[in-house]
Symmetry: D2
Subunit: 253 residues, 4 copies
């Protein structure tokens, strides 16, 4: 994994200290790695330390080969610096990570958690909006929704509860989800300011990242706002619009 | 503080490695310290490390004088090892710590959390039953209940929800609460097996501990089961029965 | 790896909380894992937390397959609880771990460190006697000594410096070393009280452990005191006496 | 202490995330606090986490009053992120912290450590050049040197060993030392590029900091290069030149 996580010019480890595009330049509030191996469920390795100083992360990336993995560095936004609040989040064979946030999250957290079925509520280990959005999406998928439709439903419910609570701030959701076989990349927000998400397709490999990992800017394309991109093993990436409550975002608040 | 936390024969630091009476001999899943100084709100220092190896704890205890402080070493029971799950818990000027547990807590956690008012729900930083019981007691006190009555109400509600969920295991509650002026020590359980709590009154000092801190066994008296002991500054300790839903525990399940 | 580290009846994770045979029952001062994969140098994963509460350790063991790995739980003996002081230690393609200690280590540490060549002194990351003994053995091997002879030389020098410093306590050395291909297990001490080391040979696997990992006591044989056992891939274990300065230990102090 | 550590416009906690003047903008590799209370020896509180996310630091600063304390945030330069490598360093009643570094430190570390007497070598808990310089200064003071002369001697020896090792890089030493009564602030370097150090004298308080803590730029004066500033309780700060081997630095390399 270190060919992608540690080695590139603008690697994730480097981004922990100096991200170029993110809202926050320093992402020192922990990191995480989820990777798929021989089992259906992914491995998960998360720690509180800044990624730039963690020898375990470097050693693990140097040893493990994986056909599919997620890596993340965190800049906390008002929730605690704990392992359970670090991305990626894992539930069964699913892994998920998220950039963005629910504006004034504390005011709607409780009502959003109330939408979780008991089994998924029990899986909640941390306190972030990101983990909550992940579990809500899974809850909708368990009822039969496709990932894009599930995200659309969750965004709609989130915005509805935010409006009910008088929150004028936006919900922004740039995220990746996988079941270990297929990857879905989402980029949406009610105000049109979704954090960036870049795609690079190489022979034999597809890379999705919040910033290009190298200086070949032309090789990276920005994933469109309000869309879901599906990457199946051995097939190219397919991007479709994301439909939220019958409308495309941004909506007038 | 180290005259009590680090120095005695059976100090808390020593108990982290070899507790004599507790259900668990090793209490290595973090520790915590809450102390009152010049401000109304207490200081709080908690960490994940075993207390026996933490230099910060030793140094802090060696420097700080406090007329009233709580110290705790934790053995986790099915909840994560995080700072936010370490005792004591602090909310405003209140501090609290707890030995015991809610049997099959996961099955009633959600229903118990639903009893919290929004403001106190927002104060919930961790995932333990202990923190939840603390906030429920505070919620009842905010409605005007005295601490003993508040604990009685919370025990009654907890047992009621446990029975509704078909839980045969017990709820056990040996705990200390303070507002910075008065200390209330509780010892109750629905099956009569409350973890121990000892009291020692010396001229100018009252000590409450889960095990005697020294070998003067006669100087320590066990606090009675199903009681609340109130210690006011400069006054002796007063013990009264704890009334739970009109009855004293143990009750027939 | 979890078939050996986490799953057995008396697994290493369990031993972190309740070791049966060791000098210390609780081994909560960190843990470590070194494993060989596709590269010549091993992966290394060490953390300060007690092994029993570390989700990363469990997840990693659940994912990684390795034909050769070392795992260790630590009970600190007078040196700091840091990652760099956790076993195994890795240097180049070598990995090493150790039970035992140099009596009154502080009094001879400096003189022992002076025996290290500059390159290996630069590899010293922590402060333990164990890492120092590892590097001294490597230093001797770089001069052409076989592992058994290198250990013999290091034990002799250590005892000599201890005697010069007036130290009556013993040096005890139960240790395992590997270069990724061959494993050498050592058990020696100047007073005959070497910590235990057990061997189990199964078809296709050789296990060396400080305590039997399961209840099949007969399947495990204690490695003899003052010996070195060599395990080559695909070949059985061969035990030979360890010669220290022309004599076998124990020696009269 | 939080009036100085947490509250100001450009507080140390803020500098951990965005320092203005330092060589490194992010100082997220741990922090430390040494403070004097009722005892002769200071309290010491250090942790690995970035200062910006540590609740313990905030709580401690909110409770403790101290007439004299040191606080530091660290950006590691090639030595491990451990508590023992975080500033301040404490030895007996002395506390010390340092900005700057010994160029190509690894090449002279061993020779510099050889200058330490045994008792101070035993006090060495970490691996940084900063702690080593501190102990070397104390060693010289134990032989009767005044702090300024001790620093001069240590700088001279350091530069000498660097030259012998063929190191062209500089040694830079901006540091503060105290015995709990008097504070000495040093600023020197062989190339004239000493990290900055600012002094503010207010009625009843003297503040020394690597950056002004507030926007009153005129109230802060830069301590001169190649000088030692002595602050005695109740007396003003006195600055004198620092003499290194009969010369003032910068010297021709």
């Amino acid at each position: 994994m270190d060919a992608l996580v540690c080695a590139p010019n603008n690697s994730l480890v480097r981004q922990s200290l100096h991200a170029c595009e993110g809202k926050t330049a320093t992402n020192g509030d922990g990191f995480g790695l989820a990777w798929y191996g021989d089992r259906e469920e992914p491995g998960l390795f998360r720690d509180l330390r800044p990624a730039w100083s963690d020898e375990n992360l470097r050693s693990l990336c140097g040893q493990v080969r994986s056909p599919l993995f997620f890596a993340h560095v965190r800049a906390a936004t008002n929730t605690a610096t704990t392992r359970a609040n670090c991305h990626p989040f894992v539930c069964g064979r699913y892994a998920f990570m998220h950039n963005g946030q629910i504006g004034s999250y504390r005011k709607v957290r409780r009502k959003l958690e109330a939408l979780l079925p008991d089994e998924l509520f029990d899986q909640r280990a941390g306190t972030t909006d990101s983990e909550l959005l992940f579990l809500l999406v899974l809850a909708r998928m368990e009822l039969g929704a496709m990932p894009g439709a599930a995200v659309g439903w969750v965004m709609h419910q989130t915005k509805r509860l935010m409006l009910e609570a008088g929150i004028a701030e936006a919900v922004r959701f740039t995220a990746i989800l996988t079941d270990g076989q297929t990857v879905w990349a989402f980029r949406t927000s009610c105000d049109g300011h979704s954090p960036g998400l870049y795609l690079r397709e190489r022979p034999g490999a597809t890379i999705i990242a919040s910033e290009p990992l190298d200086t070949l800017r032309d090789a990276w394309s920005m994933i469109a706002n309000n869309s879901v991109t599906t990457v199946r093993r051995g097939l190219g990436a397919v991007t479709e619009p994301l439909v939220i409550d019958g409308h495309s975002w941004p909506v007038a608040a």
